[in-house]
Amino acid sequence: MLVWLILVVPLIGAVIAALCGRGGAASARWVALASVMINLALTVALMLPAITRLSARTPAPTDAEALSFAPNDVTRIDLLPVGTDSRPAAIQFYVGIDGLNLWLIVLTSFLMVPSVLISWTAITERGNEFYAWLLILETGMLGVFVSFDLILFYVFFELTLVPLYFLIGVWGGPLRRDAARKFFLFTLAGSVIALLGLIGIVIACKNQTGELTFAIPRLIELVQQQLRMEDTRIREYWHQIQLMVFLAMTAGFAVKVPLFPVHTWLPLAHVEAPTAGSVLLAGVLLKLGSYGFLRLAIPLCPDAALSIGVPLLGTLAAIGIIYGALCAFAQQDVKKMVAYSSVSHMGFCVLGLFTLNSAGINGGLLQMINHGLSTGGLFLLVGMLYERYHTRMIPDYGGMAARLKLLSFFMVFICLTSVGFPGLNGFVGEMLILAGTYTMNVPGVSSNLLVFIIACGIFMGGWYLFTMLKNVFFGPLHEPHHDGHVVGDLNGRELAAIVPVAIACIVLGLFPQPVLDSARRDVNTVVKIADAARDRAAMTKNQ
């Protein structure tokens, strides 16, 4: 029950906030804060029992069990019957929790709180609408993660675009309209192609098995059954289908992640978005792409993921790691720098997922959460700095540590999490990805080259972040031009926004095991699916 409740609460909050009226911005933000807090409480109530339950499952599906996901806390309601009387089928409201989405849900609910707090004074116009859109965005993001129905997944996937379009387009910076339009059209173009792929796999399953279903676990099961067949014609059919479906899904998810070279919407959208929008965009929305790879692309098309996914996406991710870091270094705008650092970090994530082994996928999954926290934190801090001086240009600043002690402290701290400092969250994920890459064992892919690139990425992450720290926060004090009044350090509200993020970074860095434990079975399911694909590939080669 809690699962659909966390989707409904923000919607109700959004309606109430919208009803507060133009003059009621003050009450709207309290409504927003209340609903995100309630949602966070609900999420925690959902999480605590779920951890134990998910961790207690057998570590991997046995050969007798279906090789698929088995969500917990399921709610299934028929929305749109599309089958015949003899063969009922329906697009369903099918939501649930498993190890892959639990922590992303927690991350989303968690990051909403600072997002509301950071907008407290920054949003001066049409506050009620702002918070309403923000809450709708929360529903959309949570919806993507909890969906186990293909169409529901897609609907929520697209639903996230609308609120963010307005958040950027109405409350953004000077180029907000361009940024919003570009963001919307670019990601829409990608995800429409992904929809083709999603429908394609449903129809392929119907053609081959006669069963029409949109439920993701069932689809994966059917695909696995089909792939096990010895018939060459069936095998050839699925080979073709997987190729096309995988490429179509890649189009959608790669734009969202974003991978090089389809990343250019990201810096613009980040720079123009209001701080809360940037936090959620970097913290959660980018993960929709990598989550899509993990939940749909790899399990539904394992052979294609192995044969073209690893070389193609591995290469793009590797290029992205280096390229994003280089671009980040060259930026004068702090926000743009953080945006490009996301390209670099998400490259790590995707590379981890496409190692197709346990260490790498665990690392990739963990890195999604880590990146959400650390980049979310960076955007929060940049937003706080911007609110004080109304500039984001690095050359305008210097020695801010003398003026803004707490802000500088947290900036150094979050930079450390971002570069993967041991004991903070980024480290474990990065190391697992490195381990996974070493042992990825995919024919035709040089893991030595990839680990070298990861090492370069680890170095370069420190390079641009610490150069920024040196230029902005250290050295002689050089404040940007501002209107005379003494600029104060972080206030209580800002501390309430950033401190939980910092604490979460430490907690996740020191105790990552609950995350790894609860996801173990599902990760191993994906790994087993991928291993089966490896065996098939080896067999084909031998013949």
Binding site: K182, F186, L326, G436, V451, F452, I458, F466, F473, G475
Partner: protein, 654 residues
């Protein structure tokens, strides 16, 4: 199980957190928790050392339960503390010297606005360093390794408003991180091949299966990390700049402990390195080359702290050269020699730095040897203690540097008789001898120029010139430092004088370290025997260096300029540190920044392509736009034509 070992980590960590959180309340008392924490850790370490020493013959190891950190996909990591003789020696050096430096800092940093911050980071450093030597898991070791790195970053950049300090901090962080990236690769290369991150298990697994060429690569990658952290060529450039930090921090981190972490790492992994002779000879080569190079640079530097920094680089090179000589049967000897030098070096180098700090304190922040001189009367205690340290470094018998340096020379000399790479080891041996001479010379040069000759005191002394230091002595004459600073100097001076001799007797130190279980298991037993010829040679070299420095700088001042003018090119090279910073700016930093700009431009290109795709519909739309001309009759005509075509199709298409 020995759960009290956790206290070694918990005390400094707790002190650090306490000072970090409540620094505003503690203010000028911030040093107390830190000193007590370090002292407590020191007490436990000494106790552990005593326990290990008691069990002389058995395999001796104090250890705790494993605290699991994470495990997934075959990578499982847990924190377990294990004290064996190797780590006990390191631990004692760290906590003992750390405690005294903390006490010294209470005087040196007195009145600084960042007082609590300094001590919080200081304590964090002690914690990380202890963790580094106590763990037996490579990835946890890497974690603490990064931890000491970040404390070093924070302390170098302690006076962050100084542009040079901010730049030096970033440089130190990035250069060491370059090595760390290689270290991480090495760790996971070993993991991917042998499936474990635990060092004892790894040593066990490596034996009994074909390991080449993975092992050589992995060892070289581990060595990469050591090169970065221990400032060896070619990543040595950060250490001299790191002297921008407070002097006590330099003493602790950039002289006595953190920079020796690389030596410790290679010593700890020696059971791997012995299986990879090529890796070892690279270690020896780089160590010897660095030792010579840094000694040459130290000859001409004017900044007293920089001389000491290059001397540190040089001495670390010495230790690596010793480790690199540990081919085959020499492994145990090499490790003990390197560790012995590490141990004695920690005392006298920390002492030299603290004494330099005392000079700096008295001279109002001036440390340029061209502006000070003849201070032996003004600063009697500083002078005496500095002399102890300097002559220990120069290797004058019977001070401690002599004994440990002699061990290293002995092991490198024995390596020249070995079966492999004899020619290279001969060069290493020669370079080390040369370095011994140069070391004696530049150390004495620094000593004589600072404390002998005509008394020169810069005007900053006694005034408020010290930019960070709120000095409350207003006297115009230079003054000796307060007791809180001189007592640590005297303690460390005693160590610098006595430690070497005391531990060299009957090879106490060597036997103790050889009892490390991993070494007992995998290394051949080494017979200690004194090499009197070599001792004599090294004594002569040291004496020659000291005497010639005395002649050049005290008896006939000005000789140095004459010598410099004889070999201007060499002098310029040395003075400009062989232009390494400039070369790196051209071959590394510059191209990387240029590449970044190119990427940025390229990104605009990609973005342009995307925008161009976005403009395509508009372009096609432009072709049809004139149709929308607003004329009713034109529309009617279009309808009519359309209808005609439609009917025509209906009529004729069947």
């Amino acid at each position: 199980m020995h759960s009290h070992l956790w206290l070694i980590l918990a005390l400094p960590l707790g002190a650090g957190i306490l000072v970090g959180l409540f620094g505003k309340l503690l203010k000028g008392q911030s040093h107390w928790p830190v000193i007590l924490g370090a002292a407590g850790a020191c007490g436990i370490s000494l106790h552990a050392l005593w326990q290990l020493h008691g069990h002389h013959d058995s395999v001796s190891l104090l250890q705790t339960d494993t605290l699991p950190w994470f495990s997934a996909g075959g990578v499982s990591v847990g924190l377990r503390l294990a004290i064996d003789p190797l780590s006990a020696v390191m631990l004692t050096a760290i906590t003992f010297i750390g405690t005294w430096i903390a006490i010294y800092s209470a005087g040196y940093m007195h009145g600084d606005p960042g007082y609590p911050r300094y001590f919080a980071v200081f304590s964090g450093f002690v914690f990380s360093m202890c963790g580094l030597v106590l763990t037996d898991n490579l990835l946890v070791l890497y974690g603490f390794w990064e931890g000491v790195g970040i404390c070093s970053y924070l302390l170098i950049g302690f006076w962050f408003a100084k542009p040079t300090a901010a730049a030096a901090a970033r440089k130190a962080f990035l250069v060491t991180r370059l090595g760390d990236a290689g270290f991480a690769l090495g760790i996971f290369l070993l993991w991917s091949k042998f499936g474990t991150l635990s060092l004892p298990t790894l040593f066990e697994t490596v034996r009994g299966q074909p390991v080449e060429p993975i092992l050589t690569t992995a060892c070289l990658l581990l060595f990469c990390g050591a090169v970065g952290k221990s400032a060896q060529f070619p990543l040595h450039v950060w250490l001299p700049d790191a002297m921008e930090g407070p002097t006590p921090a330099s003493a602790l981190i950039h002289a006595a402990t953190m920079v020796t972490a690389g030596v410790y790492l290679v010593a700890r992994c020696m059971p791997l390195f012995v299986l990879a002779p090529t890796a070892l000879v690279v270690v020896a080569g780089i160590g010897a080359f660095t030792a010579l190079l840094a000694a040459l640079i130290a000859l001409t530097q004017h900044d007293l702290k920089r001389v000491m920094a290059y001397s540190t680089v040089s001495q670390l090179g010495y230790m690596f050269a010793a480790l690199g000589c540990g081919q085959g049967k020499l492994a145990a000897f090499a490790v003990t020699a390197a560790l012995f030098h590490l141990f004695t070096h920690a005392f006298f180098k920390a002492l030299l730095f603290l004494a330099s700090g005392s000079v700096m304190h008295a001279m109002g922040g001036v440390i340029d040897m061209r502006r000070i001189g003849g201070l032996r009367k003004a600063l009697p205690i500083t002078h005496a203690t500095f002399a102890c340290g300097a002559f220990a470094l120069a290797g004058l018998p019977p001070l401690s540097g002599f004994w440990s340096k002699d061990e290293i020379l002995a092991v490198s000399q024995e390596a020249t008789h070995g079966d492999v790479f004899a020619a290279i080891y001969l060069c290493v041996f020669a370079a080390l001898l040369m370095t011994a001479l140069l070391t004696a010379f530049y150390t004495s040069r620094a000593y004589f120029r600072t404390f002998w000759g005509k008394e020169v005191i810069p005007p900053e002394a006694g005034s408020h010139g010290h930019d960070h230091h709120n000095d409350h002595h207003v006297a115009v004459v230079a003054h000796e430092s307060p007791a809180v600073m001189t007592v640590p100097l005297m303690v460390l001076a005693a160590g610098a004088v006595l430690v070497g001799g005391a531990l060299a007797v009957n090879h106490v130190f060597g036997h103790f370290v050889e009892n490390t279980p991993d070494f007992l298991k995998y290394f051949a037993v080494h017979e200690h025997h004194a090499n009197y010829v070599l001792m004599a040679v090294s004594t002569v070299l040291a004496m020659f260096g000291i005497v010639s420095a005395y002649f050049v700088y005290v008896v006939k001042p000005g000789t140095a300029d004459v010598i410099a003018s004889r070999a201007p090119a060499l002098h310029r090279l040395s003075l400009n540190r062989f232009y390494f910073d400039e070369i790196y700016a051209v071959i590394a930093a510059g191209p990387l920044a240029a590449l970044a700009v190119i990427s940025k431009v390229f990104d605009m290109l990609i973005d342009g392509i995307v925008d161009a795709v976005g403009r395509l519909p508009r372009l096609f739309g432009g072709l049809l736009r004139p149709v929308q001309n607003g004329l009713v009759q034109f529309y009617a005509l279009a309808m009519l034509l359309g209808l005609t075509v439609f009917i025509a199709i209906l009529a004729f298409a069947r």
